[in-house]
Structure formats: structure tokens, C-alpha cells
Amino acid sequence: MTHARTHAAIETVIRLESPRLIAGLAHYTGDIGLAEDLAQDAVVAALEQWPAEGVPRNPGAWLTTVAKRRAIDSFRRSSDLNRKYAELGRTLAAEGGAWTPDFDRAFSDDIDDDLLRLIFTACHPLLSVPSRVALTLRLLGGLTTAEIARAYLVPEPTIAQRIVRAKKALSTADVPFEVPAADQRAPRLASVLEVIYLIFNEGYSATAGDDWMRPALCAEAVRLGRVLAQLAPAEPEVHGLVALLEIQASRIPARTDAAGEPVLLLDQDRSRWDRLLISRGLAALQRARDLGGERGSYALQASIAACHARAFRPGETDWAEIVALYEVLAEVMPSPVVELNRAVAISMAYGPQAGLELVDQLTAEPSLRNYHLLPSVRGDLLRKLGREEEARAEFARAATLTNNERERHLSAGRAGERSV
């Protein structure tokens, strides 16, 4: 094996083990900041020892053992450590300070529970949404701060600071490392699902910069969703979210053309949709429904996505069903954006004039004033109705509203386009 491959193999093992290592240590310490510091110490030791000695048979147990020993060493060496460090060191020292790697633990349910606790803690509503996203990607995705910064097009120190502050906030508030109790479970789970959904969406339609799609973020969100579905299998909305993400991800190969330009849903080459992901998505949707989650907001969105996924040609799309689903979604999750999508579905099912009537009601909506898809949709409907002058003005307006280079190009192109 070449040196480069050995090094890559070691880094991969560490990245794979990292979430479970941190989760296990967080359970032990009750503090994810401290857990990550200890994990980092263990990683440094691994990078020193593994190239010469080889990767141990159970790398996770090795890392955990080393991390715990480091905790004790630090405690013994220094007297002015923070309170949590001191408590931990004392506990570990009292236990005798000797551990043998526990080879069964890597497969045990405890670690699954710890991972679930880690997800809930990283997505704690106490934290700002960007902090939850950064912390989740760092602790559960194993992404480096540099990778997160690149994905979100912000300077690395910004992400690093966001993560440090988030860990400090959790520590200061003494947020317990636990799966929330029944009365808190629903809102806390909603926060977790939102974070995963936002990570996916950031990758799916970037709001800034010239990289229209960031497949790595989409892939990470889908993976997190799949992990969560295994950890919390009784939660219908988890399966609803997974269904939505799998079906959306199935279209990634068809969403851009050879030049990297976006291709709209109805223009996509559906033979390029990933059928495996579609069937996984449909299966996840069925699980959500079987668990009684049919009216969950993610399950509803997944049901809409499924209507598209089931149609091999755009003409086969059941638009009346989509309109009906948007009506339920508008009840469950009232929002002008849902209304806008409902208007598009209505126009497809019952003609552009019917859609335009609803869109025109939305133009007065303050929250949509700077939403580029409103003029974009309105322009589309006007063009279909032959009102070309008005349509062009709407596309020009859409172009000025979007931050994304490629989407702007698309809107600007349509503004200049002659109708046929």
C-alpha cells in the first residue's frame, strides 16, 4: 500500500468513527465541547501511532480508550482546569484509570442512543439556526470547519467561531445530553428535521454564489436523514423527511445540463432520475403513512414529490392530486410560498388563468416582496396567456432578486427570450 493510500485510509477511519466517538464521550462527560476536545486528542494520537502500528481492529474502541486516558492525564497534570474537566477527571481516576477496549460497545444500542442524543443536542433550539447547522455538520457529518465554510461560502473563522460559541452556549445553559422528554419531543424533533432539511436545501438550490448545486451537502443531509430514520424509526415525520430528500435527490443528475445550467422540473430528462432513490423514497413515504404521519408537513411535501416521481413523462403528472395535497399542506403549514406552489399546481391542473388569480392575490403579501420565484411564476403564467410585455417585466424583476448566479442567468435569459 502506498503511503498516500495509508494516510487516506487512516483519515477515513477517523472520519467514520468521529460522530460515535464524540457521542460516546459526550455521554461520559455531559458536555459536547469537552467531548470534542478529548476526541481531538485521541485523533492526534491515532495520527501519530496508526501509520507505524497499523489501524487497530476496533478503531472506535481504541479512540475512546485513548480519549478517556487523556482526560485523566490532563486532570492529574493541571489543577486549574475548568469545573467539568475536573469532575470528569476525578470520576475517571476513582475508577482506577485502566480501561481495556470494549469490542462489543461499537455495536451496542448505547452508542445509537448516544448518537441520537448528539443529534438532539446539536440541533437544540437554544442555538441560532446557522449554529445548529454548523454544529451538526461538524459533529455528525464529520466535516471540517474549512469544508463547512466552503459549502456555505463564508470565511472559515466565521464557522469556527459559530461552533465555539454554540458549544459554549450549550455548556453555559447546562443543556443536558439527552433525548428530550415526551412533552418536549415534538418541537425538539422539528428542530432536528429542520436542520437536516436546511442542509439539503442549501446544497439543492444554493442561495448565494456561483455554485448552483453542492452535491456534498445534499448527500450529507440524505445520509443524516437515513441515520436518523434508523435511530428514531417510530417517528413518522422522520420517514416523511427522508422520503422527501430521497425523491428530491433522485433528480440531481437531471437538474443541470451539460453546461451546468439548471433544468426545470418539467423539462428534465426523466430517464436520468435515479430510480433506486425514488423507490427508497416511496418506501419511506409508505412507512410515514403506516405510522399515521400522512398529514405531516414533510410527508405531504414528499407525497407531492412522489406525484412527480411516479410520472415517467410530464404529461402523466396527476396535477389534480398535487393541488389536493397543496391544499392540505396549506392547512398544516400555512405559508405564502406554499400558496405560490399551489398556484402553479392549479395552473397545471386547471389552466394558467386559474393559477394567475391566486398569484395576483399573493403579490400584496409582504413576505414575498423579495422572493424571486413570485415574479418568475407570474411571468410564466403571463407568457402562457400571451401577455408577453408583462411577462418580460416579471422575469427581469426575478433576475434582480436572486443571489444565485446560475438562477439569475436563467431568469435573465427568459426575460430576453421571445415567446414562441
Binding site: 485510509a9 477515513t12 472520519r15 440524505v222 445520509r223 436523514g225 437515513r226 441515520v227 435511530l231 430510480r275
Partner: protein, 113 residues
Amino acid sequence: MKFFGYTMGDPNAPVEPPSPEMYERMGAFIEEATKAGVLLATGGFAPMSEAVKIKYTDGQFTVLDGPFAEAKELVGGWGLMETRDMSEAIEWTKRFLAIAGDGESTIRQVYGP
């Protein structure tokens, strides 16, 4: 990135028939890989002796029944993985082989449809 990993039960890389203990450990491994969001689908191959080959040459089909190898029962399996990169797919395959025992796996990146 998706990868298809397989052990074909190739006569050049024979795989021992699995013991009950191995079944149990393999079950735990499959659970772990699924929980990690990595394993999308997996299955086993019937012995090579039961395989059929279909050839198409100059407009003519030829269907060849096995066995194609010696009498030894050669089994195999496959898994479709989704990982961040090839390096992760290699690591998961190592973990698979550590349970399956001596043998050889091939991993091929799977492109979209």
C-alpha cells in the same frame, strides 16, 4: 458517490461457505452499515454452479448453463453503498471482508442513470 461492491465467488478467489457465527456477525455488520446510512441495498449470490450466461453475437443469442468452475461450491454477495468517496467505500469493504474471511472484493463506482 455510489459504489457497487461484490465478491463473485470467483474460482480464483474462493470464499468459504459461511458459518452460523459468521451469519450473526454479518447481520450485525449489515445493521451497522445501514444505520450509518451507507448500505443502500445488499444481497447474496447463488452458487456459481447455478449461474447462466447469456451471450449475444452477430444477432444470435447463446444461453450457457453452468457449471463454469470446478465442483467446489462458490458463493458470493454484493452491496450497493453510498459514501463520500472511494476511500470510505474501501474502508467499509475492509470491514466486510474482516467478517467474511479470506477472499477478494471488487468495488466499482456506480454512475447515475
